[in-house]
């Protein structure tokens, strides 16, 4: 099935490709970000669409997709959470934060590591993964819910209740 990219999104992607006048291939992450933002993850169809758009072999897109933790090949929950796992946040309690998020969102804690597989709550509302240092080590523990950044997170109920 061909990917249905809305015309406004395709227009935005085409504009972004012009930011790379020397080589269209440079736009691959940019195109993937736009597609992931819209479709929530990068499917095979998305890879083929991006490849055609950038005049690349699909394998050239796939090798990028499969490398970067920021690009997902499976659907996350409605709200995807990334908890910083690295030293300063861990000292400030990020593993406890992860435990608590999993418990309250109804996600099995045991399978949660980085990225793959995306650990999903049963109702599909939340998914969670560990991320490495999010560059806010002085205000740990920190996490991101979708594109929102949260510092010094202690009250998980208050955090999750912002997302309906």
């Amino acid at each position: 099935m061909a990917l249905e990219v809305p015309p406004e999104l395709e227009k935005e992607i085409d504009e972004r490709i012009t930011h790379y006048p020397v080589s269209k291939r440079s736009a691959v992450l940019t195109v993937l970000h736009a597609l992931q933002h819209h479709f929530r993850f990068i499917s095979e169809e998305s890879i083929e669409w991006a490849a055609a758009k950038l005049e690349l072999e699909p394998i050239k897109v796939l090798e990028v997709v499969s490398f970067y933790p920021g690009i997902r090949q499976k659907a996350p929950g409605k709200y995807h959470i990334r908890v910083c796992r690295t030293l300063s946040c861990a000292m400030a309690g990020s593993y406890e934060l992860m435990d608590s998020i999993c418990e309250k969102a109804g996600i099995g804690r045991s399978g949660v590591t980085h990225h793959d597989p995306v650990a999903l709550s049963e109702d599909g509302k939340f998914s969670v993964e560990f991320a490495e240092c999010l560059a806010s080590c002085g205000t740990g523990p920190v996490c991101m819910v979708e594109d929102d950044f949260h510092e010094a997170v202690t009250d998980v109920d208050a955090l999750l209740s912002q997302y309906k």
Binding site: Y68, E132, L134, G138
Partner: protein
């Protein structure tokens, strides 16, 4: 210029010297170009664009500005490595990947003072002749990327970017490029591969020094966010005057990011070498937590070798040579190198006596095992191996000889890889084993020795779960 006031509770510490962070947490400040211009913004660009490009590089050299991204390499010198008589396009890339654990300074520049960075970049591009520049920003700064794009658009409208800037005949476009969550994209050649749309596999140097063969194999300058901001201030005050701040060979100000076991973690812009680690901990950060003692400090981002609170350090040369404690280390490039570590990215991680060193090194080994790009066998296998050994130490399932093994694995990565990630990954382990060996060994189980020596523990493939 109006009197500068800061948001209540976020005032700079008395020992700070705010230059690059002047507008961070400033009352009434916002990211708009109007606010920036009202405060004298883009004046330095106008001044610079009347200068000869080569003279700007000279000022940066005179200033003695050393890179703030990690290696501390002199910026002016780097710029002068661009090949003479070059007929290829030159590119400039701002490294806004900010991914070294413990580092959180570029975040505030990008989010609160985007035009300072753009002005610094515009001046730097003019100096090196780059007409196309990218800001490589980590994916986890979505708001930052948006703020920068808005700022670039504003600067365009005012004629500070685009065609024939300020009537100088110089054209410049800056674009924001978002990464995708990989630490190795902070390494400059990995960054370049990533920007070319490939896996971010670092390139081998030589021959691939970016200044000679960088983006699209053209001469390319890669500098950190903070470094590029300083260029603006160097033009403002002149290189000579700028070099009067800080200490000789360690000039200017830099931002220290302090995290871990202190009362008030945070960011502090200080004159390089003018404050000691003790002042940072006790004065700026309000001291250690109640009833706690200092145990260890990682002074320059997680890749810097750890300092133990019990060591003494020989610093200074000749008649100036002396032995100092951890509290008296001046926070500058040369002294931290003399202490066997590095100033790195400015990320200072403080650990008190409640911390298990096995747990700490295991946490870091997890990071490096996850972030190795996988190109070189010693790094790919070794970083995972170190993680697995320290997983076992933490779980009480390691034998004492595992600590020797851990050290040996680290020492077989260091110096044997394509990029400096190899050192970044092995230095933490080497230094923790060197300085906290007894503690690591105490977390192992001698009874396991015999069972392990013949079997799994000497292979990378151990799977305990």
């Amino acid at each position: 210029m109006s009197q500068i006031k800061y948001i209540a509770g976020k005032e700079p510490h008395a020992k700070e010297s705010r230059v690059v962070f002047k507008n961070v947490d400033r009352e009434g400040w916002d990211q708009s170009i109007e606010t920036y211009i009202e405060d004298g913004g883009y004046e330095q660009q106008q001044k610079a664009f009347k200068m000869e490009p080569g003279d700007i590089t000279e000022e940066v050299k005179k200033a003695g500005l050393r890179g703030r991204g990690g290696a501390g390499f002199p910026a002016g010198l780097k710029w002068s490595f661009l090949p003479p008589n070059n007929d290829k396009p030159v590119y400039l890339i701002c490294n806004a990947d900010e991914s070294e654990p413990g580092t959180f300074k570029d975040r505030y520049i990008i989010h609160q003072d985007p035009h300072q960075l753009i002005e610094g970049m515009a001046i730097s591009c003019y100096a090196v002749g780059a007409k196309l520049a990218y800001i490589y920003i980590r994916e986890e700064f979505p708001e930052g990327a948006q703020i920068l794009e808005t700022a670039i658009e504003e600067a365009h409208k005012k004629g500070f970017l685009g065609k024939d800037i300020l009537g100088s005949g110089f054209d410049l476009e800056i674009y924001v490029h978002r990464g995708a969550g990989a630490y190795i994209c902070g390494e400059e050649t990995g960054l370049i591969e990533s920007l070319e749309g490939k896996r971010p596999y670092p390139r081998i140097k030589p021959p691939y020094f970016p200044a000679a063969m960088g983006l699209y194999l053209c001469p390319t300058i890669v500098n950190n966010v903070e470094t590029l901001c300083h260029v603006k201030h160097i033009i403002g005050s002149g290189g000579e005057a700028w070099s009067k701040t800080g200490t000789p060979n360690n000039t200017g100000t830099r931002i220290l990011c302090v995290s871990g076991d202190v009362q008030k973690p945070g960011y502090f812009e200080v004159q390089v070498g003018k404050v000691t680690l003790g002042e940072v901990i006790n004065d700026m950060c309000g001291g250690l937590k109640k009833g706690r003692k200092l145990k260890a400090v990682i002074p320059g981002g997680s890749s810097a070798k750890v300092l133990s609170a019990d060591e003494t350090f020989k610093v200074g040369r000749g008649d100036d040579e002396k032995e100092i404690t951890i509290w008296d280390i001046p926070m500058d490039f040369d002294t931290l190198a003399a202490c066997g570590s590095m100033a790195g990215s400015g990320g200072v991680i403080i650990m008190d006596d409640s911390r298990s060193m096995s747990w700490v090194i295991n946490n870091l080994n997890n990071f490096y095992a996850h972030e190795s790009c996988g190109q070189c066998t010693p790094c790919r296998e070794g970083s995972l191996w170190m993680k697995k050994i320290t997983d076992r130490v933490v779980a009480g399932k390691a034998a004492p000889s595992d600590i020797d093994q851990l050290d040996a694995v680290a020492r077989n990565i260091d110096g044997r890889t394509i990029c400096a990630f190899g050192e970044a990954a092995s230095w933490p382990t080497e230094s923790f084993v060197e300085k906290f060996r007894d503690e690591l060994v105490a977390d192992t189980n001698p009874e396991l020795e015999e069972a392990f020596v013949n079997a799994e523990s000497l292979t990378a493939a151990v799977n305990l779960k």
